[in-house]
């Protein structure tokens, strides 16, 4: 258990040691952020639309359909946005990270880095961690906005909730602390995903089954850790 924490500490420590790897950080922002955009947009939009239906159905029981905007925005910004976005990024990018680094281990590319006196943690892991800390909150913000629009389309466009009450309710109920909570979650989830997936790839047994096993484990462990950490963070921040 200590090994995985030491791995994170060393990746963090090396991230701030010269020379800085700006080009690699930008490259990984693209692979984590830009390349995950389509799946985040799609999942955010459909999540929002489902929330529009379910929210309307539940709120109608209490004659409170006008609160649809508040419920959707709070649910997405505080909880669903960061968590579902983290799941999407894990599936889209985290698994690829584990597989890529695991393959590099199996084909001696990591040994080659060591033998060229280049620290593979600094070269392969630190830039990915910094990139995920930047990309995840941005992806989550996009997920939230698209989700709110999806719920708007269903609630206002299809089910007849007033457009004014949808946005006014949102404006009244969402405070800075909600946005901050979502932001903090997304940053920490980004860290968890990159940390777990890079660690699993880095320590994959050097064979085909080892890489596939590491990839599966990285996805499952990331999901579990995101949910467990979400519970603790929610209980602290409420």
């Amino acid at each position: 258990m200590g090994k995985i924490f030491l791995f994170l500490l060393s990746a963090f420590f090396l991230a701030f040691r010269r020379p800085a790897k700006f080009n690699l950080i930008i490259h990984h922002i693209k692979t984590i952020g830009v390349d995950s955009l389509s799946v985040v947009l799609l999942s955010g939009f459909f999540t929002g639309m489902v929330m529009g239906f379910q929210g309307y159905y539940s709120l109608r029981k209490f004659n409170a359909e006008s609160f649809l905007g508040s419920v959707t925005a709070l649910g997405l910004i505080r909880e669903l946005g960061p968590v579902l976005c983290a799941f999407m990024v894990t599936g889209r990018t985290g698994s690829a990270m584990a597989a890529e680094i695991g393959t590099m281990r199996a084909t001696e590319q990591i040994d080659a880095l060591y033998s060229m006196a280049i620290n593979p943690v600094k070269y392969l892991v630190s830039p990915r961690i910094i990139a995920s800390l930047i990309a995840m909150p941005l992806l989550t913000a996009i997920f939230d906005v698209v989700g709110i629009y999806g719920a708007y389309l269903i609630g206002v466009g299809l089910l007849g909730v007033s457009s004014g009450s949808y946005f006014a309710g949102m404006e009244n109920s969402v405070v800075f602390n909600d946005v901050y909570s979502g932001f903090l979650k997304s940053v920490s989830f980004g860290l968890i995903i990159t940390w777990v997936c890079c660690y699993k790839g880095f320590h994959a047994p050097p064979m085909a089954t080892g890489v596939s096993q590491a990839t599966t484990e990285s996805v499952v462990l990331s999901f579990v850790m995101v949910l467990v950490w979400d519970y603790f963070l929610t209980s602290i921040m409420l």
Binding site: Q109, A117, N119
Partner: protein, 248 residues
């Protein structure tokens, strides 16, 4: 001078090296031969501390590298070049970028100087004009040559060759051996070759050592090694199944 003293290494309870003692003469090529799976690559990976021993010491110019901190270890590794069995080229980069990689990471050379040196090295290994290709687009022999160009780009004092001709046809294998001999002549490095391609590997070796049963059974200048009466050496050279080396 590299000196290995009483080296022990085991993996999951299986003892691979059982007290290896060996010296590599400076500026010479020493080849370690032995049956597949006898621990040659394990021994090679200890020489630049890619693996750490359970017990024993490895001295590089009288410095025990098994006791070094990370910073000193990276400095020592900078003196080595390694040609891996599968070449271990970084598959996300072109050949040119692979060869240039150590220069970009470890030196302050300008891009123009780097390009010039990379082109020189690629030409020396017969890969001029191939720099734009990715490793996946290369044949086995081309990968080895690109790996050799990368191993030599920092002008290392010591070059480790892990089975440089495994998986290549005899013509290509001879070509790689000639390339190692030629680059050794040009650069004068201390070479350690792990191989079981005999007798071809004898042509490039100054000294030959045989690893069997987890220890170095014999190390001698090439001619003397070939004439050795040691039954392990003779069985290995002749490729016989009967003898002190267990075939299966």
């Amino acid at each position: 001078m590299i000196r290995v003293v009483n080296l022990y290494k085991s993996f999951r309870g299986q003892q691979v090296l059982k007290g290896v003692n060996l010296e590599f003469a400076t500026g010479k090529i020493t080849t370690i031969v032995g049956t597949s799976g006898c621990g040659k690559t394990v021994l090679l990976k200890h020489l630049n501390a890619l693996l750490l021993p359970d017990r024993g010491e490895i001295f590089v110019d009288n410095v025990d590298i098994t006791k070094l901190g990370q910073k000193e270890l990276y400095a020592i590794r900078g003196r080595f070049g390694v040609l891996f069995q599968g070449a271990a080229l970084l598959d996300s980069m072109t050949v040119q970028d692979n060869v240039a990689f150590p220069l970009r990471e470890k030196t302050k050379m300008t891009e123009t100087e780097i390009r010039k040196k990379v082109e020189e090295r690629l030409a020396q290994v017969g890969l001029e004009g191939m720099g734009y290709k990715f490793p996946a687009e290369l044949s086995g022999g081309m990968k080895k040559r690109a790996g050799l160009a990368r191993a030599l780009i920092m002008d290392p004092e010591i070059v480790l060759f892990d089975e440089p001709t495994t998986g290549l046809d005899p013509v290509l294998a001879t070509g790689i051996h000639q390339l190692i001999a030629r680059t050794h002549e040009d650069f004068g490095f201390t070479g350690v070759v792990v191989s079981h391609t005999i007798p071809q590997v004898f042509d490039i070796s100054d000294n030959v050592a045989i690893l069997a049963n987890g220890v170095i059974e014999e190390i001698k200048p090439t001619k003397e090694f070939q004439a050795s009466q040691n039954p392990i050496v003779q069985q290995f050279i002749r490729g016989e199944t009967e003898g002190p080396i267990q075939a299966l």
